[in-house]
Symmetry: C2
Subunit: 269 residues, 2 copies
């Protein structure tokens, strides 16, 4: 971690920063964003903040003061030009028990991490055994209940595997462990509709928007593993790593395709 | 909170205690136990620690040193005679990303809270709108991904409602928001089998054991809301509050029954 502020204050020299009563720690009761800082620019910050506020609304978490959060982001980014900006908003600190008592003030964490080292534009992926539970109430949110993703990413250590694809408990395709999945079939760019689980990614929305602007027809729909068999192009989107083409999954092989390339160009412009 | 130690150390005077990198905060990557301290006795401590260790094994979290944890429990309980002891074990502190890197040392939180004020032996309950997602990989664990319970408990403020009953996303009965559910039908004591979700409660196990010792036939099986219609007795178990009889749910009414009473007596003996 290059820098961090908790409610505007840096940890002490023993790295003590968070309250022992924080509901993020006790229940995963909060939300987060990971945002790319690249060449001095915070990429898609407005989109990330928009999703954060939407998440706060859906979970009935009192959002932070926007100007205060922006000021803390500026302090943490400071003179850095590249990295990963992470914002965590928890419901705040409170007594024991799931129920919230009285008006709560959210906890703000703003941190900067080094830019990722693995920036290969293509990925070999594998299936994860860990499934995602379905719950429309939480679907799409980038909340702090992430045990499924933790277990899924710990299924492999082979550095040749760049990502894992996850199914939900009914066998429907959801996403990668940390990114949304897109495939091209008959010229249509399709991605999963995330009605039951998964995270509604900022880069996913950007890719859909850029495709529309380029005249590429798009579809958000339920997808199943067999849909990959007919795909001419497969890629994964992630706010930190952008668009990465999937070139292998089991016996399946793909070439980095023209749509991924055009979207990448449009989104880095 | 009456007392708390994080890795054996008390928070500073600003209540800063936890690392900003703790995976409990970032991902809910950990487990917890809430244990009753009553008349100077820590109730069912061995069972709680057994479940904690089982949970660590299932999530591949390195458990704490048992003697160290016991010593911290002793320090936190100190001269108190009543209260709620809470233990939280997270996977530890680590860099950004779901994947764990290298050997991690778990974070230990041991805290004592006041005993609950609401100790009525009977409960009026209601149905919660919030459902539990199904995921056998996490079923039974008392892990830190508790957003569903947080949302469910925040559905009502009416103090006359003592608990909420939760269904899973397929409509199967799971449990209360913070306790397991039992019902008596044709003389058999039945509880949900928790194969898809819910927490395998310490008091649930005690109730099943005590029933067997008393010669009451028991069953762990899938239960549905309609199973309540035929129940002659309904109660909820919870490690902190023991056994509480459900007396009303919508139009349904029950009397506190003889099995709940006999089990309560056996378990407080």
């Amino acid at each position: 971690m290059l820098a961090v502020l908790i409610n505007g204050v840096a940890p002490d020299d023993r790295d003590r920063a968070l309250s022992a009563s924080d509901r993020g720690f006790h229940y995963g009761d909060g939300l987060f964003e990971t945002i790319r800082l690249s060449a001095g620019r915070i990429r898609f910050l407005d989109d990330h903040l928009q999703r954060l506020w939407t998440g706060c609304e859906r979970l009935a978490i009192a959002p932070p003061a926007r100007t205060q959060l922006l000021e803390e982001i500026e302090r943490v980014v400071a003179s850095h030009r590249d990295g990963v900006l992470k914002i965590v908003i928890s419901r705040g600190t409170g007594g024991r028990g799931y129920r919230t008592v009285g008006e709560m003030q959210c906890t703000r964490m703003v941190a900067l991490y080094p830019a990722p080292a693995d920036t290969a534009p293509t990925l070999t992926v594998q299936w994860c055994d860990t499934r995602m539970g379905r719950n429309a109430r939480l679907a799409g949110l980038k909340h702090l209940n992430r045990l499924e993703q933790v277990l899924a990413q710990n299924e492999w250590r082979d550095p040749a595997i760049g990502e894992g694809l996850m199914l939900d408990t009914e066998g429907e395709l959801v996403s990668a462990t940390a990114g949304n999945i897109f495939l091209v079939r008959d010229g249509v760019l399709a991605t999963t509709d995330l009605r039951f689980c998964g995270v509604r990614g900022v880069m996913r929305a950007q890719a859909l928007r850029a495709a529309a602007a380029l005249g590429v027809p798009t579809s958000e729909e339920p997808l199943w593993p067999t849909d990959l068999d007919a795909a001419t192009e497969v890629f994964i989107t992630n706010a930190v790593r952008g668009i990465r083409s999937v070139i292998a999954l089991g016996n399946l092989r793909w070439q980095p395709g023209p749509i991924a390339q055009r979207l990448s160009q449009a989104l880095t412009a």
